[in-house]
């Protein structure tokens, strides 16, 4: 145990002190920061001086519509644009102002035929209508159209009711036998949990790929530099392997902690607050269950994969051969990742249910089911039990392979050769 702590410390400190670790962490933190502030900067740079686009409107051939447009525009709480009115009927003045940059664009109404609403054209310097302006214009134009078609038979409230989009409230029915949760999950809670699950799945996959590769590469490097022979005569292979795995795990956690801190700082910046609330995310709605099980599954899943990476690393003599050798595990983790990601929208599918009992897939698929689906506690526990059993089985097997593999040099041994060597070494 004491020696394992020494191995953990050495693994951790050496990786943390390495320049490559510092640089990757800094670059990633920087990317995260930039990524999180992009929406704000985009808003800042595209918004113009007053933040609102100025849209010209001439009386033209449809004074009636223009009048009504103006009326509804004034009723809007947040119009999203400013209206610049022109008395002239021709477009010359509008064109001139558009050229001069006084307005961002102007509206044109076509000729109407037999009570139909005329076509609307938005003239600007771009080939498309910006998303936000289109939405704002549409909101006003819907009302204008309703009034135009009903020709005053409806009053304002009726028109407002007619044009308002139908709201669909999502509410989840709690399972009959499920005690404790009481009422179903609200939409807000579901959304934040969706995000959490999504983040957890990606985090799991990234950690496995990054630390897993590091573990395998380190083991191979130790083997090829022959320091392994000294290590094995000083520490039991089991202590050595798990020391390395735990050391790497701590590095992974450390890195996640750094990123979490970076994200938290960025979220806390005052200019990002409105965006967060706009996305309808409420951090207080995070389900503790998801976080706790997420953490447990994360640890267990990590150890399952990490032992295999260590075993594979011990079989390879040269770093160049490593990529090919770890391909099967990479595939396995990729499969787990995609099962998780594609099941986010269908958390109760049979595929997902089955894969929660397959050890290599269960860390990802179980968290999807816990976070988004309806999973009875016994299924969670059963899945965890299968996962634990798999960890012991593969941990034991990996330790055996590790012990044998580190002494086998030359080409990568086949399964048969490995068995033979195990028998020969009496491991």
């Amino acid at each position: 145990m004491n020696k394992m702590t020494t191995v953990i410390g050495f693994t951790f400190l050496n990786k943390v002190k390495a320049k490559s670790f510092l640089i990757t962490t800094l670059v990633l933190a920087l990317l995260v920061t930039i990524g999180m502030n992009v929406p704000y900067f985009i808003a800042k740079f595209t918004g113009g001086d007053d933040g609102l686009a100025s849209i010209g409107l001439a009386r033209g051939t449809q004074p009636e519509i223009v009048q009504s447009f103006k009326a509804y525009y004034e009723k809007q709480e947040t119009p999203g644009f400013t209206l610049a009115e022109y008395e002239q009927t021709d477009e010359a003045a509008l064109k001139k102002d558009l050229e001069a940059g006084k307005i961002d664009g102007y509206l044109q109404f076509g000729a109407s035929t037999a009570g139909e609403f005329p076509g609307v054209t938005y003239v600007s310097k771009k080939d498309s209508v910006p998303q936000d302006i289109q939405a704002s214009l549409q909101a006003v134009l819907q009302s204008v159209k309703a009034e135009y078609i009903t020709k005053g038979t409806l009053n304002e409230e009726q028109i407002a009711a007619l044009t308002a989009p139908v709201q669909i409230e999502a509410q989840k029915q709690a399972a009959a036998g499920e005690a404790g949760t009481g009422e179903g999950k609200t939409e807000k809670a579901a959304l934040i949990n969706y995000v959490i699950v999504y983040v957890l799945v990606i985090l799991f996959f990234m950690t496995i790929m990054m630390t897993g590769n590091m573990i395998a590469a380190e083991v191979t490097a130790e083997k090829s530099s022959r320091i392994m022979e000294i290590l094995i005569t000083s520490v039991s292979p089991l202590a050595q392997m798990f020391g390395k795995i735990i050391g790497m795990f701590l590095i992974g956690l450390f890195q996640i902690f750094i990123f979490a801190a970076v994200i938290a700082i960025n979220v806390a910046l005052p200019h990002n607050q409105p965006i967060l609330s706009e996305l309808n995310l409420d951090l207080s709605q995070i389900s503790v269950e998801v976080l706790v099980f997420g953490f447990i599954l994360y640890i267990l899943g990590y150890f399952l994969y990490a032992t295999l990476f260590a075993a594979i690393g011990s079989l390879v003599s040269r770093t160049e051969e490593l990529g090919q050798a770890i391909m099967p595990i990479t595939m396995l983790s990729l499969a787990a990742f995609y099962i998780g990601i594609f099941s986010l929208s269908a958390p109760d599918s049979t595929l997902l249910k089955v894969s929660t009992y397959i050890p290599f897939f269960s860390p990802v698929s179980m968290i999807v089911r816990i976070g988004l689906g309806d999973t009875p506690m016994w299924e969670i526990l059963a899945s965890l039990a299968v996962l634990l059993a798999a960890i012991f089985l593969f941990g034991w097997l990996s330790a055996k392979i590790y012990r044998t593999g580190v002494l086998l040099y030359g080409k990568r041994p086949t399964l048969k050769e490995l068995q033979k060597a195990m028998r020969a070494y009496k491991i």
């Binding site: 050496n14 022979e229 520490v235 033979k420 070494y425 009496k426």
Partner: protein
């Protein structure tokens, strides 16, 4: 008290190939024991068994009278043939790490490392990375890593290969120092001159079995003295005619005469003294190199 290291009829098989066949040897306290053999003779396998890396299929290995146990990890030091150190880690970091794994405290390890760096006159390597050092210096660091924790039994696989003569002498001196302080050293090499200088007892392995074993002096006695080295001021003729002389080779400063009988040496010296001034006369004992080639070469077909 029982001997630090005893091997009794140790057998190791890899599949149907026997890598080590009934090897027995004993290393005393404060002794350097030479394990010789051509490539693939079973030296490294024997050493790995001694280290507990692999287990023998037959026979037994005793350390101070006891079989292998995890407490031995602290008592043994190992210098592998290919120096095992982390290329990208500082000398101090990794040697202290290795010493701690062998049961030393960090501060003790630091002190011991500094002592050895001073001993090799390279204290400035403390903060260097292994990859920044030359090959010979890397080897010195490997040597320090093997002895830093003050082991009682040290296993050295080809300790001096790849070193320049100055460093070979330096390393030899330290190995002798270790021996004199009571460390038992099992030493493998195929450089015979090192063995002649350092070892009291040797075992020559060939194709996984012992072909020759015993104290160096005894072994040499068994082999007839077959060569006479003669340096004279001027030419000497008629050496070929002396009874017992089988061949004469002209050298830079004299002759190397092969004889079948030691008695012929007297006649050679007399002949030489009659004709010229003798500067050097020596009945050469066989070198270990010759014995080795003879033993290993004979059964080699």
């Amino acid at each position: 008290m029982s001997k630090p290291l005893v091997l009794e009829k140790v057998v190791k098989q890899f599949g149907d190939k026997t890598a080590v066949n009934e090897i027995s040897l004993q290393v005393e306290e404060g002794e350097i024991y030479g394990l010789l053999g051509a490539n693939g003779a079973g030296k490294t396998t024997t050493m790995r068994m001694v280290l507990g890396l692999i287990y023998p299929d037959g026979g037994r290995i005793l350390y101070n009278g006891k079989p292998y146990g995890s407490e031995l990890q602290h008592l043994m030091g190992y210098l592998p043939e290919e120096r095992g150190l982390y290329p990208k880690v500082k000398v101090s970091d990794q040697i202290i790490y290795l010493a701690r794994l062998r049961g030393m405290s960090a501060s003790e390890a630091d002190k011991s490392l500094k002592y050895w760096l001073e001993r090799f006159e390279v204290p400035e390597y403390y903060d260097k990375k292994i990859e920044e050092l030359s090959k010979g210096n890397q080897q010195k660091m490997g040597f320090i890593a093997a002895v830093v924790h003050k082991p009682k039994i040290v296993i050295m696989d080809e300790a001096f290969s790849g070193l320049d003569p100055v460093n070979v002498e330096l390393l030899k001196a330290t190995v002798k120092e270790l021996r004199d302080s009571g460390t038992s050293i099992l030493f493998s090499t195929h450089r015979m001159e090192h063995v002649e200088e350092l070892c009291r007892n040797i075992t020559i392995l060939h194709r996984s079995r012992t072909v020759l074993q015993g104290s160096l002096r005894e072994i040499k006695k068994q082999y007839p003295r077959e060569e006479v080295l003669l340096h004279t001021a001027s030419e000497v003729s008629g050496l070929e005619g002396i009874a017992g002389v089988t061949g004469v080779e002209r050298k830079e400063r004299g002759y190397l005469i092969r004889i079948s009988d030691v008695g012929a040496a007297k006649a050679i010296l007399r002949t030489a003294m009659d004709q010229s001034e003798v500067e050097h006369f020596e009945i050469k004992e066989p070198t270990l190199n010759q014995i080795f080639i003879k033993e290993v070469g004979e059964s080699h077909e």
